[in-house]
């Protein structure tokens, strides 16, 4: 059965189904009870599952994530909500030094089935500490998986997979996606973590992106098509582990790569994708690899400045046209 669901409803459906199926699944976070979470993902869950499993916490990100790790290694399957991705800095030690490393250091006696969900991204004039896209940091910590769904179907499927996974998974959501909607199958299985999706086929250039910018890239591809340029849009869906094969297959076909992301440019997700393509498919490239990302500055508050900082459809169109003219 297909229904129209918003992205937040799809996430909530994944939580509900997991909690109904498995009594060890529970949710922890700030203001996730009656309030329903800062972006409403958990609204209604407290009434249905009670305060033992929908646990409102004090503002203590390190303790919340640390406690979730302790619960995870002793048989529970916690799902933590970090209210804004910027606040994950406060739990960074627990994620990077503990969640990610316990299995490797302690051996196979340990499993860390932990999920941390968090909203990233700007475009809402929240300023420098409530707008960041910090997902690239987590690619540099072996032991963590990172998913970043772009659609309601992927939101449900990837969160469901994250909860089933016996490893720590960071689920990066996007503030501008919560209200978007799409058809979601009621009985869709969990999506495999680690597989990208080709959202639009094309032969001239590969636009590799994820999360909110999948939609922006698709709009840019539409506009480019009018001018006769066939852009292929790859939605990475999972950032760690990266689906290198899908990206390489696309670049071997198109010969051009543009990496698009909302995080800052230096050391970003696009930098890693670009490096892999340069190492593994250099001979297929007909033009330099290009990255489109936020400027290397904090996200500014002032609306026109924030708009100038974040990548746009026009940026993508412009860069692709430049690449095509080189040929």
């Amino acid at each position: 059965m297909m229904r129209e669901l918003t992205y937040w409803q799809a996430l909530q459906e994944a939580l509900r189904e997991a909690m109904t199926r498995d009594p060890t699944v529970f949710v922890m976070g700030e203001d996730i009870g009656e309030y329903g979470g800062a972006f409403g993902v958990t609204r209604g869950l407290l009434a249905d599952f009670g305060p033992q499993r929908i646990r409102c916490t004090p503002i203590s990100e390190a303790a919340i994530v640390g406690a979730a790790i302790g619960a995870a290694i002793t048989g529970m399957r916690p799902v933590v909500e970090i209210m804004f991705m910027d606040f994950v800095t406060l739990a960074m030690d627990q994620l990077a030094n503990h969640a990610a490393k316990l299995r490797y250091m302690y051996g196979p006696q340990v499993r860390v089935p932990l999920v941390v969900r968090t909203p990233a991204g700007g475009g809402r004039c929240y300023g420098a500490t409530h707008s960041q896209s910090l997902e690239a940091w987590f690619l540099h910590v072996p032991g963590l998986k990172v998913v970043a769904p772009a659609t309601p179907t992927d939101a449900k499927g990837l969160l469901a997979a994250a909860i089933l996974d016996d490893n720590p998974v960071l689920c990066v959501e996007h503030k501008l996606l919560y209200a978007t909607s799409g058809t979601v199958s009621a009985d869709a299985p969990a999506l495999p973590i680690g597989r990208a999706a080709v959202r639009r086929a094309g032969t001239d250039v590969s636009l590799v992106t994820y999360s909110y910018y999948v939609g922006v890239a698709l709009e840019a591809a539409e506009q480019l098509a009018i001018g006769g340029i066939a852009a292929e849009v790859i939605d990475l869906r999972t950032l760690a582990p990266l689906d290198t094969e899908t990206v390489l297959a696309s670049v071997r076909k198109t010969g051009r790569l543009v990496c698009i992301e909302e995080g800052t440019r230096t050391g970003g997700v696009g930098a890693e994708v670009a490096a892999r393509v340069a190492e593994l498919a250099y001979e297929y490239l007909d033009a330099p690899i290009r990255r489109i990302a936020a400027a290397d500055v904090p996200v500014p508050f002032s609306p026109p400045l924030e708009q100038a900082d974040l990548p746009t459809r026009e940026d993508i169109v412009l860069v692709v046209r430049e690449l095509m003219e080189r040929a």
Partner: protein
């Protein structure tokens, strides 16, 4: 010492104290001669805390340990062979040699892991207590940490959370007076860390950390309280590490007089004297227990030396649990 001290308890305690002391002294020699690479944080002097606290626990109760953690693992019933092999970086070690001195666990004996980040284990132990509470398992968690960790945010966040949720956890602070070289008086605005408990709404007690049975009694009270669903406690054990922070520490920040005063309170000769006085064991029996414990250390060294290093392929194995999700 408790007047109702049983002979069996005393013998077991003596064995564990000597085992940990002997193990740590052996490790120091092995680090010095290069058999063990890296560093080590010796537990010598603090043995009464680990042994006393674990004496108050059930086998299925959990502990969380620190960077100075060999004693906690041995006191909880860990295997000296696998512990020593881990220090050697051998494949037979607790983590197959990948963890090393500060990073090992033995879930089978209720040891949920030592930890190289000061204060890093405090919220993890708190979460294990949450898990015990949610599953109704009746288990209690003892979280070991030092005076240095008591100044980390994780300490404050965790104690608040545990008190708020009445979690079955006992926070055992081993105040050995120095966080590496920094004296507790230069790092902590109050004299007794136990006094912080009142800020979180839990009992806080100070105890002689050089006395196994005083530690055990305090932890038992806290464990009973936790198991009865009445929430967490903070126990500050006043103790002392007889040696430096790690292998390279020359102890320039404290006096030899201070060290001598604390060494006079060494729990091992104190226990031997008590056992003799009370007729709990003869001098010959005490010698036998001592020899037995030191023989276990010798065996552990032998086991570690003879064990193979991990194969090269182990480097990239075991980062993730495969085949889930």
């Amino acid at each position: 010492m408790k007047s109702d001290l049983a002979a069996g308890d005393a013998r077991r305690v003596l064995y564990q104290l000597v085992l940990i002391r002997g193990f740590e002294e052996s490790v120091l020699k092995l680090v010095s001669d290069g058999s063990i690479r890296g560093t080590t944080h010796p537990y010598v002097g603090q043995e009464a805390v680990a042994v006393g606290a674990c004496l108050a626990l059930r086998a299925d109760d959990w502990v969380i340990s620190t960077h100075r953690g060999h004693g906690h693992l041995l006191a909880k019933g860990g295997d000296p062979n696998r512990l020593m092999a881990e220090l050697f970086g051998k494949a037979t070690g607790y983590g197959g040699g990948k963890g090393g001195t500060q990073h090992m666990a033995d879930f089978a004996v209720g040891h949920l892991g030592s930890n190289g980040i000061t204060g890093g284990g405090i919220p993890i132990g708190t979460g294990a207590a949450l898990s015990a509470q949610m599953r109704g398992s009746g288990q209690v968690v003892v979280v070991f940490f030092g005076d240095g960790a008591a100044n980390q945010g994780t300490f404050h966040e965790s104690l608040n959370l545990a008190a708020l949720w009445h979690l079955p956890v006992v926070y055992v602070c081993e105040n050995n007076l120095y966080a590496m070289s920094t004296a507790v008086r230069d790092a902590c605005a109050i004299e007794h860390i136990a006094e912080r408990a009142s800020a979180y709404g839990m009992p806080g007690v100070q105890v002689d950390g050089m006395n196994v049975f005083a530690v055990a009694a305090a932890v038992r009270t806290a464990v009973d309280r936790a198991r009865a669903g009445r929430g967490p406690s903070l126990i500050e054990c006043k103790t002392y590490r007889f040696l430096g922070h790690s292998k390279s520490d020359q102890r320039v920040y404290r006096s030899r007089d201070e060290e001598s005063a604390w060494r006079a309170r060494d729990p091992i000769p104190r226990l031997r004297a008590t056992m003799l006085e009370r007729g709990l064991a003869s001098a010959a029996e005490i010698d036998a227990i001592t020899r037995e414990a030191l023989a276990a250390v010798e065996s552990a060294v032998e086991f570690a030396r003879l064990s193979p290093f991990p194969e090269a392929q182990a480097l990239t194995e075991g980062v993730f649990v495969e085949g889930t999700g």
